[in-house]
């Protein structure tokens, strides 16, 4: 019978009893036809494809990554805990070498969830990839990780979480933010001063097809990964670049996704968006599973697939080439710019406004980071929303130097309650996650 060249683990958790609302794209039915296709193709019978049950994550798994306001349970449902738990189970199976590749086919998604969570944005509450990665770091001692986000929407949540982490490369390709939610992800977004260059954004014009995606893969993703040398490559495998997706404007296909997956060869793929639940997801997911498992996917295609009709114009090809050239220039220049910033030292601040489209919340943030030569630098964020919540949160990085630990502890302990409802500490170095609240 058929055999997978790469032993591949799947967690399939379609959450058939959970929806944001009855007619929302993120509803019970979303993975139904994917399940039908995967079952009908008999993929779970293939020698070398193994199905695992999701875990349920615990509070510390969330606290390694997020500051949840007012607490973890208020902003999550069981389905979120299982979706992240699915990613965690797949990640553990890969790290324990039970399988070579893993794919978490789970919902709800997570890549729009940022460090501070007041509610849901872009259908996401908690960041399932980040929760998995930080768990794997603590449980298996993984250090350098690359996340390649191929969802059609910019993975602004993952970008925010790893903005100041030089050991996590975040690389997103997505439909240009001027034409699609969340409106960010431009090439000049390169990361905080101590992690400058380890955030990479490749915005693509609407109507980009297979040729364009594979061009970015060959000319940006692969060379950058070769330079960065990650121990683990994670693919945030959104499937909404598909030509039939109802909420985006791209022309990618099941064949294209399978080729991308084969060439990228991620250790772990995690499903993100993708809302063409009948026309795309069944075929794209089968393509991705086969490609991960190292099997022949050449006969997997959508019923209405027409390669010629989906081709992009030469203007788009030219545009993508220019974007890629620019991104690669930044990649080359970033290290010396980072050096300059480290030489200047001091404290850098940034202010932002974040809109939670799913829950209709407006958040303002003021972030400050100690630009430290000895470590990624302690940072903190003040956050207040139009619902009247105000919090202050301190993050001490995994590899913080002693000075930064001291600064972080002082920020946490000495900041007065006057302006804040909650003061959080996320001490990744000592694995202490706690908060102070007025009694």
């Amino acid at each position: 019978m058929i055999k997978a060249a790469n032993k591949t683990g799947l967690v399939f958790f379609p959450a058939f009893d959970w929806a944001i609302s009855p007619t929302h794209p993120e509803r019970e039915e979303r993975l139904l036809y994917t399940q039908d296709q995967v079952f009908e193709e008999g993929l779970l019978d293939v020698d070398g494809i193994v199905e695992f049950k999701p875990d349920m994550i615990n509070r510390d798994d969330i606290r390694r990554v997020h500051f949840c306001v007012p607490d973890e349970w208020a902003v999550t449902t069981e389905s979120h805990l299982l979706s992240a738990g699915g990613a965690k189970a797949v990640g553990s199976a890969v790290l324990e070498k039970k399988v070579q590749k893993g794919f978490a086919l789970v919902r709800p998604p997570g890549h729009h969830a940022m460090r501070v969570v007041h509610g849901a944005r872009g259908f996401c509450n908690i960041n399932i990839e980040a929760i998995m990665i930080e768990y794997l770091r603590d449980a298996y001692g993984v250090d350098r990780v690359a996340i390649v986000d191929t969802d059609c929407h910019h993975g602004d949540g993952t970008q925010d979480i790893y903005w100041n982490d030089p050991d996590t490369l975040f690389l997103s390709l997505h439909q240009d933010g001027r034409t699609l939610y969340p409106g960010s992800g431009f090439p000049h977004e390169l990361g905080g001063p101590t992690a400058f260059g380890t955030t990479i954004n490749v915005p693509l014009p609407p109507q980009t097809s297979e040729e364009g995606f594979l061009y970015v893969l060959e000319n940006v993703i692969i060379p950058v990964l070769e330079d960065f040398k990650p121990e683990l490559v994670i693919n945030s495998a959104g499937q909404d670049n598909h030509y039939t997706d109802p909420i985006t404007n791209m022309r990618f296909s099941a064949q294209g996704y399978a080729k991308l997956t084969e060439k990228l060869s991620p250790d772990i793929a995690v499903l993100e968006g993708g809302y063409s639940i009948e026309g795309a997801l069944p075929y794209v997911n089968v393509g991705i599973i086969l490609a991960l498992a190292g099997m022949d996917y050449s006969t997997v295609r959508e019923p209405d697939y027409d390669f010629e009709k989906l081709r992009q114009s030469s203007a788009i090809t030219d545009h993508i080439r220019k974007v890629c050239d620019r991104v690669m220039d930044y990649w080359q220049e970033a290290p010396s710019l980072r050096e300059q910033m480290l030489d200047s030292g001091g404290i850098t601040e940034r202010e932002r406004t974040i809109y939670y489209d799913t829950d209709n919340i407006l958040e303002n943030q003021k972030e400050k980071i100690v630009v430290c030569r000895d470590c990624p630098g302690v940072w903190s964020v003040e956050s207040w929303t139009d619902r009247g919540k105000r919090i202050y949160a301190v993050h001490i990085p995994r590899k913080a130097c002693e000075k930064c630990v001291d600064i972080g502890m002082e920020w946490y302990e000495k900041t007065p309650f006057r302006h804040f409802d909650i003061i959080f500490l996320q001490d990744r170095k000592n694995k202490v996650f706690k908060s102070r609240r007025p009694s």
Binding site: R27, E28, Q37, G42, S298
Partner: protein, 559 residues
Amino acid sequence: MIIGLDVGGTHTDVVLVDSQGLVRQVKVPTDIDNLFDSVLGGLDEVSKNIDVSRVSRVVLSTTLTTNAIASGHLDPVGMIVSSGPGLNPEIFRTGKHYYCVQGSIDHRGREVQPIEPTEIEAIASHLRADGIEAVGVVGKFSVRNPCHENKIVKILGKSFNYILAGHRVSGNLNFPRRIATVYLNAAVYSIYKNFFDAVSNALRAKGFVAPILILKADGGTVSLDASLQYPGQTILSGPAASIMGAVPYASENGESIVMDIGGTTTDIAVLVKQVPLLEPLGIEIGQYKTLIRALKTISIPLGGDSVIKVKDGVLDIGPERVGPAMAFGGSEPTPTDALVFLKKMESGNFQKAKMAMEKVGGLLGCSPADAAERIFSEFCHRLTVVAKDMVTSINQKPVYTVHEFLESYQVSPTELLVLGGPASCFASKLSEVSSLPVRVVPNARVANALGAALARTTCEITLFVDTERRVASAPEESFYKPVDDRFSVKDARELAFSLLRTKALQSGAKMEDIDMEVTEELQFNMVRGFYTTGRNIRVKVQVKPGLISEYKQITSTEA
């Protein structure tokens, strides 16, 4: 009176039961090359001097189809397969006469590409020219819409002996398994039909008037007539017979592990409140993964006659059997010799058993008594480990809803039931090793034949409703019904139950034995744009495997 007969690898066991209990039990040697004589011999023996016209039911469990597959004595089958997008269907080739054709259906049952009638006609004439008599027709997603399979069957016409369409074998989604299942049914059809025509004629000639039922791999029975359509259902019915034999003695409220310890293998199964657990999709036999409903059993090559070896000072039991134990005239030491030597088994030649243990002890560097104890203990440990792993894997079954995850039912057996030849000798040690109370099934040596005798008729229905496409369908039954958008999950359940009842009666069930349950029930709103356009409902119902209602009275006199 009821007769139950179970053909095993070494012995054919037959029982005659009446309302008072077990009347007669018979063991005759099985002649693998002449199963007909084994079956008839057993039936003759058990019905000696009785008025066979008073026998009300004859249930047969044979290894006929299992042996045919294991030995490769299968008829050539013409397979016509249409797949559409997805894995290359060539991967699933079943043999020389395998044709991949045009035509495809999607997951909702919509036609994507029509079939090409001239292509089928050409294949039909090839098959006729090659002398093929059995044909299988399988389409991807045919259980969602069998129109292509039906058209192909129609084009094939009446010039073949047996034609089976994929949507008739199971409502489950799994194209490769559908291919294998259809293939196996077609490949054993003529062997099966010839055999049972002969058995049926012979029984009628002897004066039997009772209905003849056949035991299936799911521990249920089906009438001989109904079985002719799907002979593949009888593959691997052997383990099912034994497990059904343990059912009446299992806890009514708890969970039980059943072990049938034979000469060559041990079969292990799990019962929940006397109901055996089923395989999620179907049996696996040799290289074939199928959609044939079956009890969930694990067969391990470890039995009373497994050969004992010592390699580099390490004791190993099995996996092969080369003959009987030395105590019974064999040439190699076995666990049975250990039992005889330890005086746990009364029969057998003690001197020969001692020689066996001396041989093993010599290789292990210990006394014969120590060798026997080690074999005995190792045997029980191995069985316990396999049984516990089986329970663990059952509990790790994936779930697809939050509710199922939170509520997920965890099996934790509270007792161990053993049957089979040497079962009683292992009982106390198994209890010590597994920390579970162990009970030996009464009449442990013929419990398999009793299980066959008393098994009720089982079947399953999968109902699929798509109110947007306005159809309710149970493809296995060739049932289609137009529905409107008010059709609810409750309507679906009722419809499924009524179809199931009809099917069970047609397959030989008695009304009082149709114990039905829902095994799967899912409902989805289908939303297109921002409007709900329909409901997608999937309901699966079954008659639970179990024993006919008369059993309580019969078995209570045994316990």
